[in-house]
Every structure is written in C-alpha cells, then in structure tokens.
Amino acid sequence: MTEHISHVKHYWVVWIVLMGLMALTVVLSRVPMPGPLNTLIALAIAAAKATLVLLFFMHLKYESYVLSAVVFVAGLFWLLIFFGLTLTDYLTRATLGVPGH
C-alpha cells in the first residue's frame, strides 16, 4: 500500500484546534463545578486532544497504517482493563466496605 501523504493545511488546522482545546481546559479548570465534573471535563478534553494527535499527527486515520491502529487499540484496551479493574476496587470501598475490617 502506498504511503498516505496528508495536506499541510490539515496539520495546521489540527494544531489550531489543539491549542484551542488547551486554552479551554485551562479556563474551565478555574471555573468551580459540582462534584467530579471539573475532572471529567479535563479528562474528556485531554482524550480529544490525544485522539487528534493519534489520528492526524501519527497518521492512524489512514488506511496504510491500519495494522498500527490495531496494535494501538489493543494496547489501549489492556490499559482500560488495568484502570477499570483497579477502580472497581478503590471506588467501591466506601460503599461495599473492605472485607475483614
């Protein structure tokens, strides 16, 4: 498969959006919100920024890198198991209690 070559304009547009999202996350972190909303929004913006970098700067969007995308998604999947199963323990201790205590 021949190498995909993006248009230079796409890189600049992605960069502008990344800078915008960065400004947004800094501003929103100074706005008081109820409960874990600040953290969730900050993480959602970080995930959006990461997705842009992965898809456009790291070329995962393009068909010639489909195998690389499979490898990345597999890694991400294991990472989410790591986070997810760890949190099922730590986030439920307050409600379910710790056996033996």
């Binding site: 960065m22 700067f57 986070f83």
Partner: protein, 229 residues
C-alpha cells in the same frame, strides 16, 4: 530526481530481508507502534498509582495542585510540546515531499523546543526544591491554617509529590531521549541521507515525539489543573 537515481537510492536503502520499500516502511512503522504500546503500559502503571492515591486523598491532591504547582509554567510547556508536535508532523511531510533541508530545519526547531521544555521543567524542579516540596530529606512543606499559622504537611502530601516527580521525571527522560534522537535525525537529514522514497527513521522518530506529547497531554490536567474532587 531522475528515475534511475530514484531507483538507485531505493535499492541502497532497502534492506535485503524486505521485498519492497512499502513492506520495509510498513514493518518499521508497525515495530515502532508495538514499542509505543509497551511505553503506554509502562506509563499506565504510574497513571494507575496516581488514580489509586488520588481516589484515596482527593483533598490532598487538590491542595497540592492548587498551591504548589506552577500552572503558568505547565501551560507554557504544554504550548511548547503541542507546537513541537506540529513541527515534527511538518518535517515528516517535508521529507515525503523530498525537501531535505526543510526537514532538517523543522527537526532542529523541534529540538530547540524540546530543550526549552526541559529548561522550564528544571526551573519548576528547582522551585520545588526551594519551597521544600521534594519528598525525602529535602521535604519541609508547610500548610497554612485559615488563621494564618502554619503546620508541617502530613505524610500524604509527600505521595502527591512522589508521583509528580516520578511521572514528570520519567516523561522528561523520554523528552531527553527524543531530543537526542531528533538531533541525530536532523543532522542526517541535513546531510541528505533521507529521501522521498526512504524516510522511515524520520517517520518513526516523529512517532516517538508525538507519544511524548500524548503523555504530557494527560499529565498536564492531572497534575496542574486539579479542581474539585
């Protein structure tokens, strides 16, 4: 470049165990991605430790982030890394177009931004040392009561800074490795080693640099911008 020179360059760059340039390019890219996934898992352990202790001591995390992290310097470093990701992406594009000198210049600019990042990070580390928020024998952080008096920070506060120094330290190590790798690739690129047909090293070193940027994209809000629980 004439067709015969193009072919000669391609034949020289093609390793004997690959059938075509495309196969070589796809294999090296895939290899780099497999390495990057191991790096994701490597940092994943630290992010999990962060999650565990943040859920255990949410107030401590918010206090340390609000009062002891220099969010302006952190924001500046985020700007630097996002810009450096752009210059790397543009350098990969330049070599795909066969513009060797432009590739080298863009990579050198990236190296300078990487050094700028490390410089700002070391200023932050120095400030933490001065204010006593480095865990271990250097630790003498104090917390202000509402009435203005101070008391020594309890042990949990050190946990935040242990994680801060290990996570940003490991990230800074990756930035350092990236700076060295990019400087070498920039030099070789200036010497004309890479062409429109053969530029895998530029591409995969670029991937490494984007990975460094990805880690920082998550470290920045998790360490500098904590608000609420």
């Amino acid at each position: 470049m004439s067709a015969s020179t193009t072919e000669a360059v391609a034949q020289h760059a093609l390793r004997h165990h690959f059938a075509t340039m495309e196969q070589q390019r796809e294999s090296t890219t895939l290899g780099m991605w497999i390495f990057l996934v191991t790096e994701i898992m490597f940092f994943g352990g630290l992010f999990t430790a962060y999650l565990v202790y943040r859920t255990a001591y949410p107030d401590v995390w918010e206090y340390c982030s609000r009062h002891h992290m220099e969010f302006k310097l952190g924001t500046l470093n985020t700007v630097i890394l996002l810009c450096s990701s752009l210059t790397v992406a543009l350098s990969v594009h330049a070599i795909q177009m066969g513009q060797k000198k432009l590739t080298a210049i863009l990579l050198f600019v990236t190296v300078l931004m990487g050094l700028g990042f490390l410089g700002i990070k070391s200023i932050e580390y120095h400030n933490h040392y001065v204010e006593g928020s480095v865990p271990g024998p250097w630790w003498h952080m104090e917390i202000e009561r509402p009435d203005g008096t101070h008391y020594p920070a309890p042990h949990q506060y050190q946990l935040f800074f242990y994680l801060y120094f290990v996570m940003t330290g490991l990230h800074a190590l990756h930035v350092t490795i990236g700076v060295v790798a990019l400087a070498i690739i920039a030099l070789w690129s200036w010497q004309g080693k890479y062409t429109r047909e053969y530029h895998n090293p530029v591409h995969i070193t670029g991937l490494y640099w984007h990975f460094v940027d990805l880690v920082w994209i998550f470290l920045f809000p998790l360490l500098y911008l904590i608000a609420g629980k």
